[in-house]
Assembly symmetry: C5
Homo-oligomer: 367 residues x 5
Amino acid sequence: MKRPSWRIPIFSRKAPLSPLPPGASPGTLTAPADASPPRITVLAYDAEQMVEEELDDPAAISDYLESWPVSWINIDGLGDTTVVEQVGSVFGIHPLALEDVLNIRHRPKIEEYDEHIFVVTRMAGFDDQFEPEQVSLFLSSNYVLTFQERQGDCLEPVRNRLRTKKGKIRQRGPDYLAYAVLDAVVDGYFPVLEQMSERLEELEDEILRNPKTETVARIQGARHEMLTLRRSVAPQREIFNSMVRDGHDVIGEEVGVYLRDTQDHVIRIVEIAESYREVASGLMDLYMSSVSNRMNDIMKVLTIMATMFIPLTFVAGIYGMNFDPDVSPFNMPELRWFWGYPFALGLMVVMTVGLLVYFRRKGWIGS
Amino acid sequence: MKRPSWRIPIFSRKAPLSPLPPGASPGTLTAPADASPPRITVLAYDAEQMVEEELDDPAAISDYLESWPVSWINIDGLGDTTVVEQVGSVFGIHPLALEDVLNIRHRPKIEEYDEHIFVVTRMAGFDDQFEPEQVSLFLSSNYVLTFQERQGDCLEPVRNRLRTKKGKIRQRGPDYLAYAVLDAVVDGYFPVLEQMSERLEELEDEILRNPKTETVARIQGARHEMLTLRRSVAPQREIFNSMVRDGHDVIGEEVGVYLRDTQDHVIRIVEIAESYREVASGLMDLYMSSVSNRMNDIMKVLTIMATMFIPLTFVAGIYGMNFDPDVSPFNMPELRWFWGYPFALGLMVVMTVGLLVYFRRKGWIGS
Amino acid sequence: MKRPSWRIPIFSRKAPLSPLPPGASPGTLTAPADASPPRITVLAYDAEQMVEEELDDPAAISDYLESWPVSWINIDGLGDTTVVEQVGSVFGIHPLALEDVLNIRHRPKIEEYDEHIFVVTRMAGFDDQFEPEQVSLFLSSNYVLTFQERQGDCLEPVRNRLRTKKGKIRQRGPDYLAYAVLDAVVDGYFPVLEQMSERLEELEDEILRNPKTETVARIQGARHEMLTLRRSVAPQREIFNSMVRDGHDVIGEEVGVYLRDTQDHVIRIVEIAESYREVASGLMDLYMSSVSNRMNDIMKVLTIMATMFIPLTFVAGIYGMNFDPDVSPFNMPELRWFWGYPFALGLMVVMTVGLLVYFRRKGWIGS
Amino acid sequence: MKRPSWRIPIFSRKAPLSPLPPGASPGTLTAPADASPPRITVLAYDAEQMVEEELDDPAAISDYLESWPVSWINIDGLGDTTVVEQVGSVFGIHPLALEDVLNIRHRPKIEEYDEHIFVVTRMAGFDDQFEPEQVSLFLSSNYVLTFQERQGDCLEPVRNRLRTKKGKIRQRGPDYLAYAVLDAVVDGYFPVLEQMSERLEELEDEILRNPKTETVARIQGARHEMLTLRRSVAPQREIFNSMVRDGHDVIGEEVGVYLRDTQDHVIRIVEIAESYREVASGLMDLYMSSVSNRMNDIMKVLTIMATMFIPLTFVAGIYGMNFDPDVSPFNMPELRWFWGYPFALGLMVVMTVGLLVYFRRKGWIGS
Amino acid sequence: MKRPSWRIPIFSRKAPLSPLPPGASPGTLTAPADASPPRITVLAYDAEQMVEEELDDPAAISDYLESWPVSWINIDGLGDTTVVEQVGSVFGIHPLALEDVLNIRHRPKIEEYDEHIFVVTRMAGFDDQFEPEQVSLFLSSNYVLTFQERQGDCLEPVRNRLRTKKGKIRQRGPDYLAYAVLDAVVDGYFPVLEQMSERLEELEDEILRNPKTETVARIQGARHEMLTLRRSVAPQREIFNSMVRDGHDVIGEEVGVYLRDTQDHVIRIVEIAESYREVASGLMDLYMSSVSNRMNDIMKVLTIMATMFIPLTFVAGIYGMNFDPDVSPFNMPELRWFWGYPFALGLMVVMTVGLLVYFRRKGWIGS
């Protein structure tokens, strides 16, 4: 049975925190749990032409690399270590980098190897809960190689721009393609933030209408999610920083201005996430206040009722005493007064009116 | 129906968080939602003369640029991307910069291009709620170009100084004009802070007089607003920093001392905003204390009333028992005492006085 | 009517947040609201002789500058912009610096001009509430010029040291005099901190004896004051830093060791202020605990009284029922028992004792 | 008797905070309390062969150092200072380093000596509570020397890789061995974090089902443990930093990429620990809310019961009064009405229904 | 009367915050309040011999300085400014340094003078409350001069090492002696931390057994003390930093490794103090939870009692009504039923059992 989304996000659910047992040999490849089998697609193009194909055999990739100026090889699904290893050997990838590709909880980072730049980043996913998906990207002078955890991504618009020759993307090299991919990954966080803001609004409504313990857990969940999102995005800033500043061979100068633009987006996303976290913290205060106001309401009703009737009941109790009026003129002569009962009722009415006035002055009952 | 201003500020209300869908081609221009149509005004001058005109056709701008040493072109309203694009081509603006102009949620920043400096800043607006308006400014050796989201701004005093030759502004170049604009933008935050301080005072009154859940939401709103204001202002510091320090060609040295002065104002605004946020946090504590004191008051009334009457009612209950005095001298002989009823009433008075003394010692009832 | 000092400190009370309306020409001089008229005093000296005079005409200052190696010109009161402007022209002060002198909410700072060093600092004042007073100081090779908001300051001991030739102050130049002034300003914070510590002690007493909502406002006020004090002092550290390190022409090397000593004091004041703020935050917790303990006390009394008498009243109610003992031997035969009434009273005593034992075990009533 | 694990972790339990009394001569060796006697094992190998032996006499170590290219000497147990001193003299270890080896509460650090690099690190242990174990490692050009507090460690997989020639470990020098050991130590934190996440989940269940004061102590314990864990791991980052960057003689360049990989793991562990601490803080809020909701529930039941029955009892009290209907037609004529009793009961039913409707509107009783 | 130790630590109690009134001449010497008269002891030695004497006349010190390679002059008590001045003139101490010696609230710092290094540090004292004592140390090439506030210190073990020739201390110069003194000062904080941990444990017990408002004040006190301790220790780190790194003439290189070792201790003490502060903050949460659980307990008892007896009392009230059964068959016929009274009692038992079952389901009464 699925755990409700507002419960503590347990990191170890989807995959163990570390892919390898402590002390294992570095570079050992283990597929993540529940990973789907890899699907390899190639998208090779120059300014004039483009092919788009799905491959069964990783070895076939080399042909594209040789014949086209820019090839984008995308692997969806990390379920088969053999295929990943074959791809790794086609592109000459370091075993530790391959291990990072399969370790789907890696922190976004950039590393430079002789042949290519290796970028690990996280794509936003939101299905009831924020679920980032790791994207590993290798950029060289004639290819972009991307690994994704599962099928379905936010890169379709980039593919469409390639297919339709829209924008400058077909005239540019793999560095611009890598920018387009990373930019799409970053911008994919905006819709998640929009959904998040709706959720916060719903939470606020819930607090004001009907606060319950579950609500607190949901607020905590939202705060935690913002933290996770921030941790997914913030390190990407350094990726762009390094790409712009460190002058990698495979990144042309004219791509720098675009990377800086994406970096601005990263900063904005981090700021919005921070801001939403503040809002969520504020909701906690709102909740506490809402709950204690409800308590006050309850207590007020009890106090008004009890305070009104307790003296009345006392008066009734007085005249329910059995002192014998026969033995003494002082023993409850009221019982035999002509206006005795009306007098008692009148006394009660006076007391009630007095208390009502008092409560109204206190502001406990409506004006 | 308008959402009450103290509810969570939902960022996505006025405009989406990002102007473009993820994966869109960079430099695509989209007008913000609800944007008004652009109105172009030119204000060209030298120390002696000045013209001020409204233009229909962006192409006409070039004439002013050629004939006057300093031209200030201002565009109010971003609702027509064609006009913005035409203006962009007149001044040779990079597509990404134009995208930033239209992305009205951009973080304040400064960027240097070959021809001009590009500054994005945020002007304070306060209409029940703090609503910043984005101002984009391009500064070159012979013009200042500004884009604003909508008509109405805090720059009228600058225009008046130009019109009346007041101060040194007419003798100086576009760098001084840009300073005057940015300075007016920064100083425009002071009135907002004054309004804010009044609002905080009102909130404090409300807390002490009549705290309710809504009040908490309002306090949260005020805190959030201070955070937003701080985020609008703080990055402007780096803009002035960069203008003073980086030695841009188009900024003369003698303007530096003025820019430093404005930077001082930015720092003060940030400090005041921080300080107001502290005050707002303190109001939360005040609220919690006010609410729990009210609860204490309610409980005190209940306790005093209940504690006073419960023993009295008990005594009345005792003498309301029906034990038959006839069958035994021990069965409620008080009922037939001559002073039975006065004795019972006296007992009650003694108990009441005792409890009143006790409550007074506890400090629960006024001295 | 004066606002009670524990209410929110509204910055805009004494003076507007900014002296000039947004967009005003820089260097425009406006006297602060309620400023007293200026009083000019000169104190000129060498190792042998000293004159001390009050001037009516700013122009007369020049004579002293020419005839004495060290002149200290002090202006109390900023209420007349003409006088301030005249003084400014005697000393050749930049218009923006003069604007800062009149903007009595300026952040402490140091600025170097060609002729002199310009220091803005804040003097501690404490009259029921911490009220800093701005001191502007100009230091050149033969004079020290100080502006103060109002008469009365903590510099009298410095004047006395000059008058009595005490210490080395008469043998030294204006740099040592400036040090002496700034040192006196810094050390003036210590008595304020002492008063503050007394106030915190009083607050603690109030919390333990008689906590009320007002107390919370006072705690907030104290915290806020510590923050304000910290913000007045902390930036002074950089002033001394700059004076020691930046090698200004007008500051001799041998004054450096004294300035470092004052810097130590600044650090200590900031630390104590921080520490007091911590104490004030702790008082908030103490308050909350004190209030909730009072609530517990109230509830305990209510619970004990109600729990004791409710069963007793029930027993009395039982024997107040009117079942007819005549129709059945089961109908309340107790009413006709010989020991019926004593039995009922005994039952009540047993119940009372049982509950007392229970409450004592719970620790609700004293051992 | 063992202290329950959720109580405050008292540092001084296992060992005093400092091994030496204040003022003792530096380099004095004292065995930790309860330390087990040392057990020396040697594991010497080249690419072809390997020996693994347990030694009784520290002097015998020298033989291995001379005959094998790589020797790993491991000492489990610090209970005998003589043995530690002998080992120290075999390897020429500085007395202060030996003191650090025996001071089992040392902060992770790296120090360079002429002959070897000295690393102090902490191995994760988790037995109901997080209990780190200090590992001291000396790395030279032909040996790795490790000291551990007690037997049993997470290094068995490393030994197995050596035994089975798995991976590159047998072809490499002692620097790679040291990396393998430190990597195993770091990765040993992941299982602890997994256990921790389970514990947090259990705590959450407990809070929602049955919150008690003990739960708070357990939450505190979890937060504290995360802090301790973070402090054990975070300084290790600098160890790897220094090993990669400072170019120690005994560390080959090709090991750098592996060390960087381990450094990534350290960063991730610190992030997860931080994140768990956040979760634990959130649990505190959940707890407070859960407790106050329970209180609300209790109050609601009391209020509903009291408010329902108090008016009813009052009505019953009215008709229990003893006014004499004989003396006046106004004296409780209801008592003799034909429908008197049904009328009274009907009145009570009407009141009850009215209150039930009121409570339902308030949402206090289920729809 | 002594103020209880858990009240706010008022800094100004023992001594004013600043030794001098604002504006006083720098270098003015004032003895701290309640200071004891100075006692001068000399301990002079070389590797072979040692003398230890108490001096009456500061002038006699010079003899030792001339005849012995290392002299340690220690002054306990700062009550006589004349003696301090005489000592100052023997060693050529700067007036500001002497002022710092007498200002017993000085922040730990190091300053280099031509002749000697001047170190101000704080020795841990713990007598019910943490009370640091200022130690001022002057280190030159042939002497160590220390000033302490009062007699009794943690340096006796160092003296004993000198007396017994234990360790290397007698072979080394004054730099090693200074290290030994400073190391003993630092290590003197460990016992204080142990006592602190015991106090925290006691506080925890008190919270769980019997939380009262005083407890909160004690927790605050503990937190504050940890802060004070941290502030006493943390700046000492920079002292050792400077001694190691800045290459002072009077400190030999071989002492560096020892100083680094002490620096490690400083870091650990700061970490432990931080960690204890966290624990103290956690105790606050524990307290709040303990108090609100107690409140819940009280409310539960009240609710159970009230809810149980209110309906019963109502039933008794019903049958206490005086409707006349003679006038109508509908008027309380139960009163004349044969089983009327048993029926009423039975009804009450049924209601009681029903409520008990309800409470048990709610978990309010033990299973």
